[in-house]
């Protein structure tokens, strides 16, 4: 990945039927980068992709491709291909003709088309499906045809709109690895949409968290996970305990009736803050050793770990631990300084409904 932006969105605004959908999107996507747009349903991910693809013209703002403004360039002249959320396969063509569509438009030679189509189908695990009708394929198979159909053209930028949504878990994991490998090997810039936060974190160079037409945070998966800028991001990226606290001075915060050492600074004295703690970052210790104590209310086995709901200081906390404590038992809780994430409360303005509640599942 290098630092030259290949696609730049500048203050893009879009409204449908007078309803603002994108409210000033600013985003630079670098060449050869894997960028993921992550956000809840209806937040404008597809619309953002459609801007880049050329299917939606922004009401205001500019779109640059390789430094050239392309607001009004029609989609067929853009060196961008899309894996559509609803596949949009051509029902009157078989699998091979669907995949070959772009190459035929480019007037590639029949032999080249045939080998490329075959290789691509093999790559997505549909070897031997050439002559099947797309209408007879399962959802997951159709989705893979859609991936092959876009990828075979080797565009500069590939837009993928929840391309693995219809696949079962195992196949999805395989395809995630496959797509990531393809992206690395071909150097195609991927703009990837998902509302699966785990998928976003494992695949991306950078993640763009969106909510309600506004970008909440842009950063590496580590940044997003460890340093969420507001309660919305913290809550959307994995489960979080979000509680009110007071920052007495640098590195000193109080919440849940106890004082903690933390690694954050630069807050005003006695500032009201939000504190984010990941469920797996809470250490379960004997009651006397814990800064906070609580009663276990519920335990769920989650495979790798147990998820415990613990009532402490009138709030329900979520704790992930490899060892379970029986329901009704009293436990102590400790949190290491670098696992305490402090956020200004003002930053929660855009995510107020979520910030209100102390702890979210």
């Amino acid at each position: 990945m290098n630092q030259n932006p290949i696609v730049s969105l500048r203050n893009i605004q879009v409204a449908f039927d007078g309803e603002p959908i994108l409210k000033g999107i600013d985003l630079d996507i670098c060449d050869k980068e894997f960028v993921t747009l992550l956000g809840p349903s209806g937040c404008g991910k597809t619309t953002t992709l459609r801007i880049i693809g050329g299917f939606v013209t922004p009401d205001s703002g500019d779109l640059f491709f390789d430094g050239k403004k392309i607001n009004n360039l029609p989609p067929y002249k853009r060196n961008v291909n899309t894996v559509f959320q609803r596949y949009a396969l051509f029902p009157h063509m078989n699998v091979a003709d669907n995949v070959a569509f772009g190459l035929k438009i480019q007037k590639e030679s029949p032999t080249k088309i045939r080998t490329q189509v075959r290789d691509m189908l093999e790559l997505v695990g549909l070897k031997g499906f050439e002559h099947r009708r797309v209408t007879n394929l399962s959802g997951g198979q159709q989705q893979r045809v859609a991936i092959a159909r876009a990828l075979v053209n080797h565009p500069r930028v590939l837009l993928l709109d929840e391309p693995l949504g219809a696949l079962d878990l195992k196949l999805r994991k395989d395809m995630q690895l496959e797509l990531k490998k393809i992206q690395r090997e071909t150097g195609i810039t991927f703009v990837y949409v998902t509302h699966d936060q785990e998928e976003a974190l494992t695949m991306s160079d950078r993640v763009v968290v969106m909510n309600d037409g506004v970008i909440q945070q842009i950063g590496t998966p580590q940044d997003i996970y460890n340093e969420p800028v507001n309660a919305f991001v913290a809550d959307f990226i994995g489960e979080s305990n979000i509680v009110d606290g007071i920052m007495y001075e640098d590195y000193d915060v109080e919440f849940a009736g106890a004082e903690f050492v933390c690694v954050d600074k630069g807050f005003q004295r006695e500032e009201q803050v939000k504190v984010v703690i990941r469920p797996e970052d809470i250490e379960v210790v004997p009651v006397d050793d814990g800064k906070i104590s609580g009663v276990v209310e519920n335990v769920i086995f989650k495979g790798v770990h147990y998820e415990m709901q613990v009532n402490a200081c009138g709030q329900t906390w979520i704790i992930h631990s490899t060892r379970q404590k029986p329901v009704g038992s009293v436990i102590g809780m400790n949190i290491a300084p670098d696992n305490i994430h402090i956020m200004h409360r003002a930053q929660d303005a855009s995510a107020e409904p979520l910030g209100e509640e102390e702890v979210r599942l």
Partner: protein, 270 residues
Amino acid sequence: MKARSAAFPYLIWMGLFIIIPLGLIAFYAFTDKNAAFTLENILSVGNYGGVLFKSIYLAAISTVICLIIGYPLAYALSRLPEHMQNFCLMLVMLPMWINFLLRTYAWMTILEDNGLINSLLVSLGLPKINLIDTQGAVVLGMVYNYLPFMITPLYSVLTKVGPSLTEAAQDLGASPLHVFLRVIFPLSMPGVTSGVTMVFVPAVSTFIISKMLGGSDNLLIGDIIDMKFLGNSYNPYLGSAISLMLMVVVLICMGLMNQFDDGDKEGMLV
């Protein structure tokens, strides 16, 4: 069991109004006044070969013109904002709410030697032109009457070719022309076939329109059949034989049409 009992009234209806009349026509076609078997009726259909050919020819021309006019109209209709579509579709169907005899009379008064067009020409100091009693007038009448039958099936197929496929094609580099040739048109083939069928079949057996607009020189096979049953040259046996032959011709045409349609599905894509 249930399905069969639900279909029962329909089966009776089919028997009463389709199978029995067809049987009667076949029976008449092969018998004479004394109900004795004869091939004479069938053999004398040959005398009307010229008329039959002309009927097919004019029906084919009308069908092609309907397709050429109807396709762009249906396409435009299917791309209108949704609330406009029903209204405009109604406009297309509107003429059909008027009795077709009246509509054809209206065309007579427009095309006549002293009709609307010629009066207009005269008042502009231009020479009259002969419009009525020509093959052109017959074709005009057919196109005018049967165009809605072309537009409706095309429209209903084209509305189903959603914007998502158009976008997918554009995304893969197809210019608007390519989008049409490679995606929209092939997908609308079922509409083309049924539109062509729905225009060609009534057009080839047209009567009255041809008599009114085409005059006595341009009688079509439908007019001949009409005359054999209701006119001066009453001969239901020959009339039935001609009807039967016409049916065979239509069936052959439709068979060819379907052949063409099937072959197309793969062929369009290369």
